[in-house]
């Protein structure tokens, strides 16, 4: 099963083709250099090498991304954090294969040899891109219907995933009958039902109020724990990144580059009041301002 899909700059490789197996190196926590965490040996899922992307606009060329290098391990919850316009969405679109990088390469290592599924990197867009002409259930069924799966089997599977996001009672509703948080949950179910190798989430909770956002964060964490998906989660909210991520990757803008990475301990759920949390949040915000004075990360409005 040596199937390497040859897309220009964008390939899916099976386990066979891994060049080297990165070992789970122990890592230090910011502020706590004495403690050591040992993770189970991780396996590489996604590799981004020297990726750059430029857009032509009215004002000339805009370099959205410059020399991005990233590796994401299987089952990892990676949070990309950065200011507005630093190319976070662009990077996700590149990873999803919706656009091609100018140069560099993006490799996805597939754990199963998937046959005809085109839905291995699924993206949940900044605005829930649900189809209003379909019901909630039909939206979740959309991708399944493109695959060779029986109607009954598809429906059962779709209902299972609607239950996972606690929306089984809304299966026959139309999209405009849902709240913003419910829409994002449908989008999550619609992606998870296709069993993607990689789940890309583009500020999915940015438009939600504080309570709904916290609730969905908890639900997402739980779903991630149960499904063991590899998730790349984009946000511009420091607290959200620390709450959810195994790792926080800080981007800086114009052009977008990786500024800093922070590894987090595996203990969950993260306590917002813990000294570790607040110190790390402060550190990230500080790092951010050193590089980019005059610009500020959006802070979560509490209370």
């Amino acid at each position: 099963m040596n199937e390497a899909r040859a897309l220009p700059c964008l390939e899916t490789l099976s386990d066979h083709d891994r060049e080297e197996e990165p070992t789970g190196a122990p890592f230090f926590l910011p502020g706590e250099p004495s403690r050591l965490y040992n993770r189970p040996k991780p396996r590489l899922k996604l590799e981004i090498r020297n990726v750059a992307k430029t857009f032509a606009s009215a004002k000339g060329l805009i370099r959205a991304l410059n020399n991005i290098n990233l590796a994401v391990q299987e089952g990892e919850f990676a949070c990309i954090l950065g200011p507005s316009g630093c190319g976070k969405s662009t990077l996700l679109h590149l990873i999803a294969g919706l656009e091609l990088p100018d140069h560099g390469e993006i490799r996805l290592y597939s754990s199963q040899a998937k046959k005809d599924s085109n839905a291995e990197r699924l993206i949940i867009f900044q605005e829930a891109a649900l189809f209003p002409w379909l019901t909630v259930l039909e939206n979740v069924l959309f991708g399944l219907r493109l695959q060779k799966l029986g109607a009954k089997e598809s429906k059962e599977r779709a209902m299972r995933f609607l239950a996972l996001v606690k929306l089984e009672n809304f299966a026959n509703c139309f999209i405009h009958e849902l709240s913003g948080g419910m829409k994002q949950r449908v989008a999550l179910a619609r992606a998870l039902v296709l069993d993607p190798e990689l789940l890309l989430m583009d500020e999915p909770f940015a438009a939600l109020d504080f309570q709904t956002r916290e609730k969905l964060q908890r639900e997402l964490e739980e779903i991630w724990r149960r499904t063991k998906k590899t998730i790349i989660f984009v946000t511009h909210n420091v607290e959200e990144a620390i709450t959810l991520g195994d790792r926080v990757i800080l981007f800086s803008g114009q052009p977008g580059t990786v500024k800093q990475e922070y590894a987090l301990p595996p203990s969950r759920p993260r306590q917002k009041e813990s000294p570790f949390f607040t110190e790390l949040a402060a550190e990230i915000k500080r790092d951010f301002q050193v590089q980019d004075p005059g610009r500020e990360l959006v802070e979560q409005v509490t209370g």
Binding site: H93, A96, L98, S117, N118, A119, R121, L122, I123, F125, E127, A129, F131, P132, W133, L134, F142, G143, L146, Q147, F174, I175, H176, E177, R190, L194
Partner: protein, 252 residues
């Protein structure tokens, strides 16, 4: 139903005004017949079957012409919406032709088809097909890119992408074109039947004029209005409303 009584009173007053004006002797009867005379003529016409025959013939022409317009207009709008080069060439031509009132096609049509059923169908089709094409075209072109990206991301491409995403996303716009196309077809048909007399409602209207029978003219006009309202209210407005509701446009 909110203004039911207001509406009823309004139309009763209108009828009363007409009645008084017609009986005031201010205008001769052949210019303004009283309402009861018009309704008598209408009743007699319906009973004799002449009106029903005319309605039947006109509606048959309309339906046939409209179906042909759908069969041409929707695919044409889809391909011109999808392929840029077709849009720049064929699309621009269609947009230009849309400015031409469809009855202007009658002379050409008569020369091509003679005094025949086809000639009148041609005029009806020219009336409807362009607005259906243009609406389908702009509907397809204006599909939100987000839907297309989401569809592609889930593995849709080619015909599947077009049929399962682009077309339904364009439907609200297409439905507006269908409605507009229908009303253009109806107008073109009436204009055609008036000029080129060959049974149908337009023919009845012209007969009324030739016999100096104003009551018949008004009675037939009444029938035309009723038919127009019937299709608009019972078919197209409902269709449009249903689509808008389902697509969530009426829920901000």
């Amino acid at each position: 139903m909110r203004f039911f009584w207001g509406k009823t009173v309004f139309y009763l007053l209108l009828l009363l005004g007409w009645f008084l004006l017609a009986h005031s002797g201010f205008w001769p009867e052949y210019m303004l017949p009283p309402p009861e005379k018009v309704f008598q003529t209408l009743g007699a016409g319906v009973r004799s079957g002449r009106y029903l025959l005319a309605v039947f013939i006109s509606i048959r022409r309309l339906l046939l012409g409209y179906l042909i317009s759908l069969a041409i207009g929707i695919p044409l709008g889809m391909v011109t919406g999808k392929y840029r080069w077709l849009d720049e060439t064929v699309g621009s031509l269609l947009l230009g032709l849309q400015t031409l009132p469809s009855i202007c096609w009658l002379p050409l049509s008569l020369l091509w088809f003679g005094l025949s059923e086809q000639a009148i169908l041609f005029v009806v089709v020219m009336g409807a097909v362009l607005s259906i094409t243009v609406a389908t075209n702009s509907g397809v072109k204006n599909v939100a890119p987000l839907y297309i990206r989401a569809g592609k991301n889930m593995g849709a491409k080619g015909a599947v992408l077009f049929l399962r995403i682009i077309l339904p996303a364009a439907l609200p716009s297409i439905v507006i074109g269908l409605k507009q196309g229908w009303s253009f077809a109806w107008r073109s048909l009436m204009a055609g039947e008036l000029l080129f007399i060959n049974l149908g409602l337009g023919y009845l209207l012209m007969m009324g004029r030739e016999l100096n029978n104003m009551a018949q003219v008004i009675a037939v006009m009444f029938v035309v209005v009723m038919l127009g309202l019937f299709f608009d209210r019972l078919l197209f407005s409902r269709l449009e409303k249903a689509v808008r509701r389902r697509w969530g446009f009426d829920h901000p």
